[in-house]
């Protein structure tokens, strides 16, 4: 079966997950993002590439941050952006997801940016469009359930490559609530695809997925041991709103064991970079002295994220 993200020529037409995406496609996106970065410094912060195209932000789950970065990316490409607050409209009146999509296609949508609490929802929309000869309409997954958040994974990869140049000698640690994190899953797939020799996950047993080793990572429960020799540390947000049952004794206990402090960070390499997908819980998974410190690249991540989303949109919209 063909990868549903690629057309018959192997070109990217939807971005649903980094899992199974060929390394040359991942590199194509990262390379394409680079020239978009300095567009923010122009007198006119726009290029005309997607002039006349309509980008529909379909957010079935709230996320001001991610929706805003997609909106900025689309506007910098001169696309028209339509934001739909789905929770408050059609679905609450009983319309199915695919009927909503068909209606928006009839309004001449070119790109759907989809966030959904259910894993697989963007995939279902892409498969529906492909099956009904609407492959000129493209889907970007902006986060689905616990499954994937590919543009976040790509911007993390871009950030690591920006500071470390190459993946082939790196040790990267992902710390915290891996169980609930689609960011972690996307980043692990991206790092292994690009040949990162050592990817580690660090966290309590209750917040790591069962058989996480099968994704090709080393597991650590002791944070200091896990951070030893790391080139990049990716802190995850403790997703307390997704916690069901008693996975954790308390946020204070979590910070003591897995919160990133300057003292724990000293176990990593001196030139380590510290990343976080945001929004941060200061004093829960990361100490302010680290978040605002010299090793933090958390705000550059946000800037690179816009360029990476511009790259994804311009690549898929140009492929049939």
């Amino acid at each position: 079966m063909r990868n549903p993200q690629l057309n018959a020529n192997g070109e990217l037409t939807h971005l649903l997950t980094l899992e199974g995406l060929p390394a040359d496609v991942v590199r194509q996106i990262l390379d394409a993002a680079d020239p978009f970065v300095p567009i923010a410094e122009r007198e006119v912060k726009k290029v005309p590439l997607l002039r006349g195209k309509a980008v529909f932000n379909l957010f079935f789950e709230n996320s001001t941050r991610t929706r805003t970065t997609f909106e900025i990316a689309a506007k910098r490409l001169s696309a028209d952006v339509i934001n739909l607050n789905i929770g408050a409209s059609s679905t609450s009146k009983g319309e199915t997801l695919l009927d909503t999509v068909d209606n928006l296609v009839a309004m001449d949508a070119d790109i759907f940016v989809v966030r959904h609490a259910q894993s697989g929802a963007p995939h279902m929309i892409a498969a529906h469009l492909n099956a009904h000869s609407r492959s000129h309409v493209h889907v970007i997954n902006a986060g689905d359930g616990r499954h994937a958040h590919p543009t976040q994974g790509l911007l993390d990869l871009y950030t690591i490559r920006h500071y470390k140049k190459d993946f082939h000698n790196l040790t990267v640690a992902i710390v915290g609530d891996v169980l609930h994190s689609r960011v972690a899953r996307s980043l692990i797939h991206g790092l292994t695809t690009l040949g990162t020799p050592e990817v580690r996950v660090i966290g309590p047993k209750t917040l790591l997925p069962a058989a996480v080793e099968a994704m090709g990572v080393r597991v650590f429960h002791d944070m200091r041991k896990g951070l030893a020799g790391c080139d990049a540390v990716v802190m995850l947000r403790l997703q307390s709103e997704r916690m069901k049952g008693a996975l954790l004794p308390s946020a204070g206990e979590f910070f003591k064991n897995y919160g990133l402090t300057l003292e724990k960070l000293a176990c990593a390499k001196p030139d380590v970079i510290v990343m976080h997908p945001g929004p941060m819980n200061r004093g829960v998974e990361i100490d302010s002295a680290v978040a605002d410190g010299a090793r933090s690249v958390i705000l550059p991540q946000v800037t690179f994220g816009i360029a990476v989303r511009m790259a994804v949109m311009s690549i898929i919209a140009g492929n049939r």
């Binding site: 680079d34 122009r42 726009k46």
Partner: protein
């Protein structure tokens, strides 16, 4: 379909282009090479023509008129204009002028950085075949070349080489 019998020497064409520019280009004009063929040419010209000529490079990938047909094929570079475009005298530099579409895209892109005082166009080879009302201010050589041939300017060490080849333009 004919290959012109006399394909001129690249360095001679560059000399002729520089001679035409020397008499007329503003002392402070910025030289902006259009990627990829115009980039090295802009460097060569800046060294040959008296004056203070800031160098810039422009990649027109985001301003092309064929995106909806061919998509973004990668290989785009950063546009770098390390001078204030507002009020500047600019000479756009390219190796081969053919349809005029790249020049149209480059002019559009420049205006997103500011309002230049003047934009001129310098090309090594004018091969005819325009599809837009674009003409060079300065040229090195004019060639009549059949549509089916492409004119290729390449670097042979530190020398320019001009060739007409069969194949896609």
């Amino acid at each position: 379909m004919t290959i012109p019998e006399q394909i001129p020497d690249g360095e001679e064409a560059l000399g002729a282009l520089a001679e035409r520019m020397r008499a007329a280009v503003a002392f402070n004009a910025a030289f902006v090479g259009i990627y990829s063929g115009g980039a090295w040419l802009a460097q060569r010209l800046a060294a040959m023509i008296p004056g203070e000529h800031p160098l810039g490079y422009i990649d027109v990938s985001y301003y092309r008129d064929d995106y909806s047909r061919v998509g973004l094929k990668g290989g785009a570079k950063r546009t770098e204009l390390p001078f204030d475009v507002e009020g500047a005298n600019i000479v756009l530099v390219d190796d081969v002028l053919y349809t005029g579409r790249s020049v149209r895209a480059a002019v559009n892109e420049l205006f997103d950085f500011g309002r230049p005082a003047r934009i001129e166009l310098a090309v090594l080879v004018d091969r005819g075949g325009r599809e837009l009302p674009v003409e060079p201010t300065y040229f090195g050589v004019r060639l009549a070349v059949a549509h089916a041939l492409s004119v290729v300017v390449s670097r042979d060490g530190d020398r320019l080489r001009i060739a007409a080849e069969k194949g896609p333009v």
